[in-house]
Symmetry: C2
Subunit: 516 residues, 2 copies
Amino acid sequence: MELHLDRSLKTPLYLQIRSQIRQLILSNALPPGFRLPPERKLAVSLGVNRTTIVNAYHELEADGLIQSHVGKGTIVNSHSEHDSISPLIIDSNSGLQHSPVQPMSWQNFYTRQSERMYNPVLASILTEIGEEDQISFALGSPAGEYYPLEEFSRIGHKVMSSGNWLAFEYGPTIGHYPLRQYLAEWLSQRGIQTQAEKVMILSGSQQGLDLLAKIFLEPGDYIVMEEPSFLGAIGVFKAAGARILTVPTDQEGIRTDLMEQILSRHRPKFIYTIPTFQNPSGYKMSLPRRQELLKLAYQYHIPIVEDDPYSELYYEGELSPSLRSLDKHGHVIYLGTFSKILLPGLRLGWCVAPPSVLEHLSLAKQHVDLHTSTTTQWMMTEFCCQGLLNPHLQKVRNHYRIKRDTMVSALTKFAPPGLTWSVPEGGYYLWCELPPGMKASALLTKAAVKKVTFVPGNAFYANSGGTDRIRLCFTRHPEATILEGIRRLCEAITEMLIQTHPEGTINRPRFSEPLS
Amino acid sequence: MELHLDRSLKTPLYLQIRSQIRQLILSNALPPGFRLPPERKLAVSLGVNRTTIVNAYHELEADGLIQSHVGKGTIVNSHSEHDSISPLIIDSNSGLQHSPVQPMSWQNFYTRQSERMYNPVLASILTEIGEEDQISFALGSPAGEYYPLEEFSRIGHKVMSSGNWLAFEYGPTIGHYPLRQYLAEWLSQRGIQTQAEKVMILSGSQQGLDLLAKIFLEPGDYIVMEEPSFLGAIGVFKAAGARILTVPTDQEGIRTDLMEQILSRHRPKFIYTIPTFQNPSGYKMSLPRRQELLKLAYQYHIPIVEDDPYSELYYEGELSPSLRSLDKHGHVIYLGTFSKILLPGLRLGWCVAPPSVLEHLSLAKQHVDLHTSTTTQWMMTEFCCQGLLNPHLQKVRNHYRIKRDTMVSALTKFAPPGLTWSVPEGGYYLWCELPPGMKASALLTKAAVKKVTFVPGNAFYANSGGTDRIRLCFTRHPEATILEGIRRLCEAITEMLIQTHPEGTINRPRFSEPLS
């Protein structure tokens, strides 16, 4: 392999090397399977730094032309792997005739964080919206049939009326004051004693998770989460490079008895929890557990991030006090959202936090999006201040209870043996365990054929687990659709059971036992 | 100083040490000025790791009780510095009677990134909105008087009408397809040949900068920017830990002749530029410079981030082709926004990028806010598809040209000698140089008394410089307000000149010379 470097050219040496090896591979002078010289050796023979060769090989690998194999060295790929490579482009219209333009190897530019962001489950849930030929129990969304469209149409007209140009203007990063004020009062009625000054408006509570990651998490930092937990939180914390310590849950919520060892050994940056109608399990943390969790946080000097999208959606039982309302020492950072209790499309959430934390979140948000849409904040303020929020909550609580019961009845009717599920006192989700040996991923493929979908359980496990679990959202569809979707799902499960036991020894279930 | 550690307690050792030293300081057993033992020595005497002492001292310092001084050691603060420290809190209602709760030392939890986010200029610009007793030339905002409120009121009514619940639903991360489609066509008419699939919707173009930082910038990475440049971009890239290499500008834009050395020495992740009606300088990059910049990017294999909020706001001269429209090899990532050409409060921007980059941006955005508000995207789609955008542009171009001329006339009339300014062919800003020796920061204080404000020049310099420059936005206010604001500003400058030369040797200016 002969290469000729021209140090009088402006093109960096590593790009000259890359270009020449590329030519040799595409012209078949270096055939598939050819082993390139080791980096150090080639560096010596060309009289360049080893880094120069490393960079050149890196680019060629990103181009799909070569591949490093541990122990085997760097090998030229087969033609099928680089058939799609575009030839070198010569731009005859510019002054570049004599130095061909290298196509960008974007792979070489991305950060480690970017590589950690791959989250196919979340992406597929969001893109399936509007694919109306299938019944999705995957997306955790409110029922569109109850969105107060008339009210918002009227409010929109008012907010955007003549002269009201401030509704379209830039606004303060921390949020629209009247909305912060409303939320402070509304939360105070729920035991969270706070003031407008301690409430920050977010572009959805997902943004709160991202901002918290920005201000608290260095790569390698520990955090604590219950397992299973919200996949969007797992995603953002993983992307930030956090090491996630998981604590198992039972019907009373996070197993605080198992936490002490974790907290004393590591110094986690925070404990992330969804104490009420947890996503995906639906469990409500008991009051003793809440007190125990706070006690541990005080003792080990660790903040708690309380994510609370569902607590207003209770269908029976007693309302539990939030951790934030029990916290007497300013350890709890509280996240809330309009997405689950009202509608998600305005992208409005909030955070209640100690002043120092709020200040840091606000500085971070300034870089992220300057501020949340003024227009949507004004509309929501109007909705709230007209007293429309609480009646809406009353309404959806009633409807969602019926929907939950509909899904449970449908499961009771159609479920094959071995399928079990939780019946939560509130929130959005049934958390189901598949019959022994059945994998959620395999079921997902089967169910897709029958035009029904769900989130496979492993998406809620930060490390591993949950392959035999699935999450079903019961709030989104009308009752008839819930029935039909559960029928299809159970049909898929039953068919998989029959495939596993082709002799047909499985009978119709006599009963099915819920998890709780 | 006697400390007693109890290893049978659950409280970590560093917190025990902190708690006891704290007690000793607050009880005056360790008086102000007392020098604490060196960390290593105390560690040995207590039989603990040095890290334990470091952590304990760190917490005490965050509490404001002690202070490390290089060469002097660790000293107990004076009473005035810790008078505000709250006494230890005993919570008699919980099981915590015997272990006092330590107040959170949030300082110990924040990331380095968080510390780099402090950006008082941006925060103060955003919070001054609505403070109507002063005339602000600081905020780069369109004129509220031209916001198409009636149109949006009508559109809002239509979008949020009965049955249209999808307008309030979750949506795909990459954006609402009809809006992406409109933008692709609109941009194609401007020479940017693209398709809906290559356009991504952002929650304002500031979000684009944050996402680009996430996918491209590791701490320590180099990027290249023109100097001066947009303060929001400087802020987000600095927060990401980037090392910013600045290139001077002249009337033709970035000095490409000075770039070669920078690009060949470092391998910057990208070149960030605002080629048209640059913020803050107002300069438009000449066509030869644009071509030269692209040539350099190709040669050194470096992406260009083209930030283009202002190019549609041209008041004279020829429209320059964007870098993206000149780019034949997929090196340019293009950012646009509705904030400057229409209104900022909906927080809508866009990005055009190669597929690989768009995919990475989209994965990052998913973690950041799931997606941009569906409702605002639907409203903007309706506005655009009703053909309202281009007539609006025509209208504001006319008005903003008049406003620019008004501000220039006012300066010509009121400016004291030594004050000079640029006259841009488009965009938002006059970039002014103060009389020799005058500092923008001092003028800002003086001007505040006269109820007029601006952005001091140093905010646009990534490293240092610009202390004798100020940026004035001419688009936002009615003409009468512009006149009055410039009168007040020039009065402030004149008074400062007189203070500097108290003999009163300065006469009224005979003429003033603009920078371009």
